[in-house]
């Protein structure tokens, strides 16, 4: 999952970046509203966390530009503006959720998680259950059927979560790379192949099918 964080306070952004990365998200961070508009339209983000009081361009206007350009990117507004008038304005401008500062890291993570699941047409639950697999996002563990939970490495967790949010879809290597790595990361398609092999070793060979020339599909336990 790749997120765009637009926040002009460096200290807060630093802290948020590390929190989000620890939770297995690839994060691009921008401080200027105008940069955010361009990046949000160019890159295939899964979610944006948007501050409202931004230099260059107000967050609300950034959001309106995205929506005017037809982008359906899920947007979580993270702001100090806590009046209900402002919340109504924010959500009317096209935001999907609204969190006011200050906040707890867990709450932000829960909201991000819920938004991502909603964006992929799933009801928010404690565990993400798809195709006989149960993913515990807090512990970064997966459970196959009724077996003992298996621990996942950070990269494996990222990849599996993306698969599980897009079950039954054919995902190309490029697509996977775009959603798993941020702007600065080295994108090496071999790494994805290696990670998929790791996952197959843990979940079973048939859990992820290869479609030659197209990409991979999560099949799981075939329910």
């Amino acid at each position: 999952m790749r997120l765009l964080l637009v926040e002009d306070n460096v200290a807060l952004a630093d802290s948020l970046c590390s929190v989000l990365k620890r939770a297995g998200y690839a994060v691009d961070w921008r401080t200027d509203g105008r940069d955010a508009v361009v990046l949000g339209e160019q890159e295939p983000y899964d979610l944006a966390i948007l501050d409202l009081g931004l230099p260059g361009m107000d967050g609300l206007e950034v959001l309106q530009r995205w929506r005017a350009a037809g982008s359906g990117l899920p947007v979580l507004i993270l702001t100090a503006r806590s009046r209900w008038t402002e919340r109504v304005e924010g959500l009317q401008a096209g935001a999907d959720d609204y969190l006011t500062k200050p906040f707890h890291n867990e709450e932000l993570l829960l909201r991000v998680q819920a938004l991502l699941r909603r964006a992929h047409g799933r009801v928010p639950q404690a565990l993400l259950s798809v195709a006989g697999l149960q993913l515990d996002e807090a512990q970064q563990q997966v459970r196959v059927g009724d077996a003992e939970p298996l621990s996942l490495s950070a990269s494996e967790f990222k990849l599996l979560r993306y698969f599980m949010l897009n079950p039954g879809k054919v995902l190309s290597k490029t697509q996977l790379a775009e959603h798993l790595y941020d702007y600065e990361d080295e994108r090496d398609s071999n790494v994805i192949e290696v990670l998929i092999n790791h996952l197959r070793r843990k979940l079973g060979r048939e859990a992820i099918e290869t479609r030659r020339g197209q990409g991979y599909v999560l099949v799981g336990r075939g329910e």
């Binding site: 948020l16 929190v19 100090a80 209900w84 109504v88 009317q92 200050p102 909603r118």
Partner: protein
């Protein structure tokens, strides 16, 4: 309280009465004098005719009664004479009354006559046929006196009437000229209740400076409030982000900190958050202040409900129950804050249903927010209200929302109560007076 109209009347009435009475008395006096002068002339002429009636006979002078006016022969006719020569002749009309014979000319006062008459007397000394003769002629002045008295009473009554009329006219004029002031006062009341942004300048010239001053003052207050609100907002924004950084760092540090210290720090942070939020809220309240925008349930409520629906996708239904055709006579932002916090709370706790009903009558706006959640125990309700306690630490902001609502309701002079909802959960009912005293 001092009243301008009463004070004006109190000065006008004695002034008018005094001057009118003075004029009445003065004119009566003047007329009396003129009358006496004229009658003196007549009396003089009468003396002349009496002198002519004195005829020189063989025994000296005698009064030829045929030559004098018959009035002098009718007793108490009001016309009398006494002629004193060698002999003394008295008019028959005097009957047995004695007319004193004072000196020369007109007597200064009126002399008592017969039957209570008051006589104007004129005397003259002459010489006829070598004999000294003193003639006194008198005329009853009483009928004229009576006439004067009646006239002066009549005129005085008329004067009182005129004074009364003058006072009435004055009061009417005063009320008329104070009418613009009353209109200004009405407009000020409208201003206070937010139906108007400034006083109309279409007033009489005398009131123009006052109205201009009031408008100026209003604009100044508006600007001050705006600045206060903006600086409160700026302060809030400035403090919230660092607070968010601290909170975020603290969360990251949580595993390596002793649990006791962590709880302590978190509690302090929470207290700062709440205090900041409530202070900001209070600074932003606009109860007495007339911003143009009123709360319009037809457009604002659906927007709010939609907002809550996206914040709480799990709560399927927020039912609205009330008339949407009239705007509420309260500030839009404050009402959004009030309803937003109430509905936010309700949505947090509701299982499936939240109800918002409202009723706007001539005196009050009554709002009820109910949910079908677990509700709050009777004992705990008081605690929630009195201290803005959070009952559930897991759901952030609960309690704080109610505290903000309580501050808001208090600022509007309304009432807030927590009850058991028929739906099963908590029922918050609020009543706000339309006119704040």
């Amino acid at each position: 309280m001092r009243s301008i109209s009463r004070r004006l009347a109190a000065t006008l009435v004695p002034l008018l009465l005094c001057s009118v009475l003075l004029i009445v008395q003065g004119s009566v006096w003047l007329y009396d004098r003129a009358q006496r002068n004229y009658l003196t002339l007549l009396l003089q002429r009468e003396t002349d005719s009496l002198l002519a009636a004195l005829t020189v006979g063989p025994d000296g002078l005698f009064l030829d009664l045929d030559k004098i006016d018959p009035d002098y022969r009718r007793p108490y006719s009001g016309r009398y004479f006494v002629v004193q020569g060698r002999e003394k002749w008295r008019s028959r009309s005097l009957w047995d009354h004695r007319l004193p014979l004072p000196g020369d000319g007109l007597q200064s006062g009126l002399l008592p006559g017969p039957q209570g008459q008051e006589l104007l007397v004129w005397s003259g000394e002459y010489r006829k046929a070598g004999e000294p003769v003193t003639i006194s002629v008198a005329l009853d002045y009483q009928p004229l006196m009576t006439e004067f008295r009646r006239a002066s009473i009549l005129i005085s009554a008329l004067a009182v009437l005129v004074t009364l009329l003058a006072v009435l006219i004055q009061q009417w004029l005063l009320r008329r000229s104070l009418l613009p002031l009353r209109r200004v006062q009405q407009e000020l009341a409208e201003w206070r209740s937010g139906e108007r942004l400034h006083l109309s300048e279409q007033v009489p010239q005398e009131l123009q400076p006052l109205v201009a001053e009031i408008n100026h003052l209003g604009a100044q207050i508006e600007a001050l409030l705006l600045r206060a609100r903006n600086s409160a907002g700026d302060l809030g924004h400035a403090l919230k982000t660092p607070l968010a950084v601290i909170e975020s760092r603290l969360d990251a540090l949580a595993p390596s900190l002793p649990a006791e210290q962590l709880t302590e720090l978190q509690a302090q942070l929470q207290a700062m958050r709440n205090q900041l939020e409530r202070t900001l809220q209070r600074a932003r309240l606009a109860t007495d202040q007339s911003r143009a925008q009123r709360f319009d349930p037809a457009t604002d409520l659906p927007a709010l409900v939609q907002t809550l629906a996206s914040l709480y996708p799990a709560v399927p239904e927020i039912r609205l129950d009330g008339a949407s055709d009239t705007r509420w006579p309260f500030d839009r932002e404050d009402m959004l804050e009030l309803l937003g916090n109430l509905l936010d709370n309700a949505c947090k706790w509701a299982r499936a249903r939240v109800r918002l009903s409202w009723r706007l009558d001539a005196q009050h706006l009554c709002v009820e927010v109910a949910d079908d959640g677990p509700g709050i125990d009777r004992d705990a309700r008081d605690q929630v209200l009195s201290r803005g306690l959070r009952l559930d630490q897991q759901t952030p902001g609960h309690g704080l929302g109610l505290a903000i609502v309580r501050d808001l309701v208090a600022a509007y002079g309304g009432t807030l109560s927590l009850e058991q909802a028929p739906e099963g959960g908590l029922l918050v009912s609020i009543s706000l007076p339309r006119e704040r005293r």
